[in-house]
């Protein structure tokens, strides 16, 4: 061998090593910030003597949460919201990603369809809910559609971006080695587009749960959104807060699962270290 190989430079995936603090940092800061938030909340209700109808003190919300968790109906409501979110989300994943692939590959089609795609996005989705109720009734179907419609676009957009961002050099390489079309799809298009697609999916799950809950707010009597409107109608602000907390936990859980899948699916990618898309 004519020359010695250089020592490998183990670089931070992002190119420069960014100082993000020790590993345990979040385990300390998260409870502290949470405690400060709850403390501030409590102080505010005392100092300004806020009525519990407007802002119940944190301990009231805590007891309301405990009380709610003792009742089977909260689990039923959570399950309904979860179900609507997941079904709507999965429909949106399938159609959103498929459409994104087609539009990413066929530029002319994207040009033709893009005004309409944008049009569907500038329509305030909440305004469609009455229509969905009219078409699909007050049951779960209208919420599933809401979740699907609201999460669809971001996944299409990101998939288009992913397909577009495949490096021309890699395409040339696949041509030079005479890879057949299916080999290009499996070995280049899919892995290269995957990071962007997964980012879209990560954002999509958050949109989907929002869609499902907004749908529940506006019509029907099942799910966490409907439960929240019931609490509001009976002026139980503490329980309303408790429901919001459960919604938040559900959202967190779903997001964590999707983000985990991302890290598992593309361990080589720069973004895998931490979720940055929200």
């Amino acid at each position: 061998m004519a020359s010695e190989p250089q020592a490998p430079t183990t670089r931070d995936p992002s190119g420069t090593r960014r100082e993000t603090g020790p590993r345990w940092l979040l385990w300390v800061t998260t409870p502290l910030i949470l405690a400060a938030f709850i403390g501030g909340w409590k102080l505010y209700t005392i100092v300004f003597d806020i009525g519990e109808l407007i802002l119940p003190p944190p301990e009231d919300v805590w007891f309301a949460l405990i009380e709610l968790l003792g009742q089977p109906m909260i689990y039923q409501a959570t399950y309904v919201t979860f179900y609507e979110t997941m079904v709507g989300f999965l429909i949106a994943v399938v159609f959103g990603v498929a459409l994104g692939i087609v539009l990413g590959k066929v530029r002319s089609l994207e040009r033709v369809l893009s005004p309409f795609l944008v049009a569907t996005q500038v329509v305030p989705k909440v305004a469609i809910v009455p229509l969905l109720l009219l078409w699909f009734g007050f049951g779960l179907t209208s919420k599933i559609f809401m979740a699907a419609i609201i999460s669809f676009f971001v996944m299409t957009q990101n998939t288009i971006l992913g397909i577009r961002s495949i490096e021309p050099g890699h395409r040339d390489l696949m041509r030079v080695i005479q890879a057949p079309w299916w080999k290009r799809v499996i070995s280049l298009d899919i892995p290269a587009a995957l990071p962007a697609v997964l980012t879209g999916i990560e954002l999509g799950i958050v949109f989907a749960i929002t869609g499902a809950i907004v749908g529940e707010y506006l019509g029907g009597d099942e799910g966490l959104g409907a439960l929240a409107t019931v609490m509001l109608a009976s002026l139980r602000t503490d329980q309303l807060f408790a429901v919001v907390i459960i919604m938040t936990l559900l959202g967190f859980l779903l997001y964590a699962v999707v983000a985990g899948i991302r890290r598992f699916a593309i361990p080589w990618h720069e973004s895998s270290g931490r979720a940055t898309s929200l």
Binding site: A2, S3, E4, T9, I177, L188
Partner: protein
């Protein structure tokens, strides 16, 4: 695979590894047609090391990409061995002809999601090879480019020079007889570049491949080549052909020889002071 590399370039004409006859390329830009390469003739003998040298925009990369079948010429014919590369205008390149080519790009173009060995073995996939065979052949190639210890690394852990070594291994994995290289070391620092030039010369001496390398570095051209083909500024055309006859293997000391300096000076003068 012949071992005879140190001899003079074989006779131009029949039996050429690559024959370029009247090949030109005109791009249709929005402002009108742009002639990137005037009709050009070039013969490369089997086992010969030819360097295409020229300033940017002289059509040298265009010519190389046509040899690789990535773009088709607007005129003329290209022969790889005894086969025409394109069988008619705008047709797809001939599969057998392409199969005897390896290509090294300016950028390593490694797939970041594949480990080094799977990057090297990529051209073998889907061609009736087992995973074990591919791994074995990739290990063999990695050894030849000095990367035996890095088979299971991801590309992002490698330096630029090492990434380009992976790219060279990948270009040679399917045992092509011809290696086409498009400014392969252009992005590397001077010291790494010297190392890569020595490595490339050794690979060439060991394997007897026909190599066509594009560069804009005059010293690199004279150091590596049996024959330097000088292309002029746009529209590209062959301005001069210079035979380089230093004994092989050449080491870096050859660059200090007076005749080396003369040849570099001769080429530099024709390039009109470029570099």
């Amino acid at each position: 695979m012949s071992e005879a590399n140190s001899g003079p370039p074989a006779v131009v004409g029949s039996g050429a590894a690559i024959s370029v006859r009247g090949v030109g390329k005109t791009y249709q830009a929005s402002a009108g047609p742009v002639q990137a390469l005037l009709p050009t003739d070039l013969e490369v003998a089997p086992g010969e090391f030819v360097v295409l040298l020229g300033p940017s925009g002289c059509g040298k990369t265009t010519l190389l990409r046509m040899l690789a079948g990535l773009i088709s010429p607007t005129e003329g014919t290209i022969g790889i061995g005894d086969k025409p590369l394109f069988t008619g205008r705008n047709s797809t390149p001939d599969r057998d002809a392409l199969g005897s080519l390896g290509f090294v790009f300016q950028a390593p173009n490694l797939m970041p999601w594949r480990k080094v060995w799977r990057n090297i073995a990529l051209p073998l996939e889907g061609k009736g090879t087992t995973r074990a065979e591919r791994r074995e052949r990739a290990a063999e190639m990695a050894e030849k480019v000095g990367l035996a210890d890095f088979l299971d690394h991801y590309p992002k852990a490698l330096s630029g020079g090492m990434q380009q070594r992976v790219a060279i291994a990948r270009a040679l994995i399917h045992r092509p007889s011809i290696l086409l290289m498009d400014e392969p070391f252009g992005a590397l620092d001077a010291m790494t570049r010297d190392q890569m030039n020595l490595l490339l010369q050794q690979l060439w001496l060991d394997t007897g491949k026909t190599i066509v390398l594009v560069t804009h570095s005059i010293t690199e051209a004279v150091f590596l080549a049996d024959r330097v083909v000088l292309l002029s500024q746009r529209p590209g055309r062959v301005q001069d052909v210079v035979d380089v006859e230093f004994a092989r293997p050449r080491d870096l000391a050859v660059t200090a020889e007076p005749h080396f300096g003369e040849q570099v000076g001769h080429l530099r003068k024709q390039l009109g002071g470029h570099r």
